[in-house]
Point group: C2
Chain length 341, copies 2
DNA sequence: TGTTAGCACTCACTTCCCTCGAGTGCTAAC
DNA sequence: GTTAGCACTCGAGGGAAGTGAGTGCTAACA
């Protein structure tokens, strides 16, 4: 796509900026005043006409102003937008509300989601750190009742996850403890999903009869480790935006958010891109065709271990959101780095 | 409050029934037709006029029909309502969707909340079983990193809860294990909150130097055991009701639900009443003044261990909701009884 | 050749007004 | 005590007219 000439760019920017603020179609007069380019409305009109033809602007009806198309937002995000810096107030807000003394990962994640949603006034979501990329440090099994036990997996980074698993009823608590020790010894330092197959034979050699049971238990554990949890906050923020004043539309959005499955998918899909923006129909989900999703990854120990993001109307303040996400990502990474040493 | 005469009751019932269905003010003609009492609209009008004077009905404006007041709903719930039975279809639905083979309490709770919300089309909430009323069977401590450990509390009923706690950095994993064994031995069979004080001295006697640390750990554990988790499902259902078509009102409701604190309070407050109904301003929360909350307790081992409920507009189908809650409560109790043996 | 003033035109939105009808309360008759 | 009859109320729905923000086109200007 060959880019537009500078003047068209600036006009488009003025339109998008204005529309993001007001949600109302933007007219040539407004652009002429707002953008200090010293051009008359008539000139702007000509340019706007061109931009419409090129697919960057849309007209709700003949005598209304123009609104940006998805294509315009895309261009805006990629090439036009002032990549806004946080104001001092905003940076301050984050510092004050991200309590670095918290000692539990889950709590940090919840706080982050809250701050993200409060600052942007959109719906925020944070994927809790993914264990699959980490190395096992310890697996504990705690007998809960006949036939069930809780497995707690601790990784080298200090992230934990627990799962209820089934165990043979015949196992005594001592057996369970023995098995946990054995598993820990074998898996210590490995990634769970990679290690299971390679480790099973040696387990089988050491405790022949119970090997099948152990194998099933490991499968249970692996399955639940692959489940990703996502913290979603501020879903009701969407009702602040006029494009969702229609109850049916709002309901659809909220139901989709509540189910969480799509958001989870987006977050996991974006787990290897530092920052991603999906605008409108770029979400391959018809329920989200009027939304944009911006995500960013966060790290610990130099590796991506999770993703967080924001969902809002396509008319989103991309600059601000991206700046906040960037800052929050590094804050969160710092906290986790310290927390998980 | 002296009750109304039977005819007034039946008329009020007809009005409430109709209003619950339609959300539109009910006129005398409608009542005359709907209630097969063989009375003319004029007669009904006289009675309705009385009911208005008595505070059971309200008139949005002179030439509209009447709508029930809170007082009317209260009377309706206490004395008038047909305590509806579930249809076979509904009972069936519950049986099919409450998977009795699930082996984890949390999963059962989530399922129950989903079923409750789907069947009523209101917002449902289920308090996870409260540990405070149960006896400890085992407390495990799993070292996570220097200074932190995960505590897993298992009760005699098989309900579990875990918490991240701080531990002295000097403790070795072996020390931690020893402490866990000690705590378990001392607390086994007791309720945590009751036992701590009485048990601490003996702990102090056995491991003098680390007793302070252990005491702090127990406090951490107790604190997190008292935190109640609540599963909320179907918040967006509220948008199906015309009384919440106003975005600002919907937003207020959803924000309140999302924060969860009020719902949690209601559920814990209601934990010793088999079934409770709060109508409108009976909720001492201005944000909930147009909502009703119906709750029911569920049991395991013959004791109340949790609460669940439904939030919706005051114009709620109380009969249906209460029938569903009753049935679900006993289903859930059954499942938990089996699950927790 | 690009820019701009001027102008006719479009069209959603608001306001006003009218009608319609569901509903009420009152009165008088049964 | 019940009901038919009737005048009255008032919100909802539906044009009609006016308003104004905005457009596209044309012609003139630098």
């Amino acid at each position: 796509m060959s880019l537009l000439d500078i003047r068209k760019m600036r006009i488009l920017q003025a339109i998008v900026d204005d529309y993001i603020m007001t949600a109302a179609p933007v007219g040539s007069r407004t652009v002429s005043k707002r953008s200090d380019m010293g051009l008359s409305p008539a000139t702007i009109r000509n340019e706007m006409s061109d931009l419409t033809e090129l697919g960057f602007l849309e007209q709700p009806h003949t005598s209304a102003g123009r609104i940006p198309s998805e294509k315009a937002y895309r261009l805006y995000v990629n090439h036009i937008m002032d990549s806004a810096k946080l104001t001092d107030d905003e940076a301050d807000y984050i510092k004050r509300h991200l309590d670095t003394r918290v000692h539990e990962v889950g709590e940090v994640i919840r706080q982050t989601a809250k701050v993200l949603s409060d600052m942007t006034n959109y719906t925020s979501m944070v994927l809790v750190p993914q264990l699959s990329s980490m190395k096992i440090k310890r697996i504990s099994l705690i007998p809960v009742s006949d036939g069930t036990a809780m497995a707690v997996v601790v990784t080298n980074t200090g992230v934990t996850k627990n799962a209820m698993i089934r165990i043979p009823e015949s196992l005594s608590p001592d057996d369970v403890e023995k098995i946990a020790k054995l598993i820990t010894a074998k898996l210590d330092g490995h990634r769970l999903n990679e290690a299971i197959e390679s480790v099973l034979p040696t387990i089988r050699a050491e405790i022949g009869e119970q090997a099948d049971a152990v194998s099933e238990m490991l499968e249970d554990i692996e399955k639940s480790m692959n489940e990703t949890d996502v913290e979603v906050v501020g879903a009701s923020n969407i009702l602040d935006y006029p494009e969702y004043s229609d109850a049916a539309k709002a309901r659809q959005f909220l139901a989709e958010v509540e189910s969480g499955s799509y958001l989870q998918k987006v977050l996991t899909d974006a787990s290897d891109v530092e920052m991603s923006v999906r605008i409108g129909t770029e979400n391959d989900n018809p329920d989200m065709k009027d939304c944009s999703v911006v995500t960013v990854t966060y790290k610990a120990g130099g590796k991506n271990i999770g993703t967080m993001g924001v969902v809002g109307p396509t008319r989103m303040d991309y600059g601000k959101v991206m700046a906040i996400l960037k800052y929050l990502s590094s804050s969160l990474s710092d906290i986790l780095n310290k927390l998980l040493k």
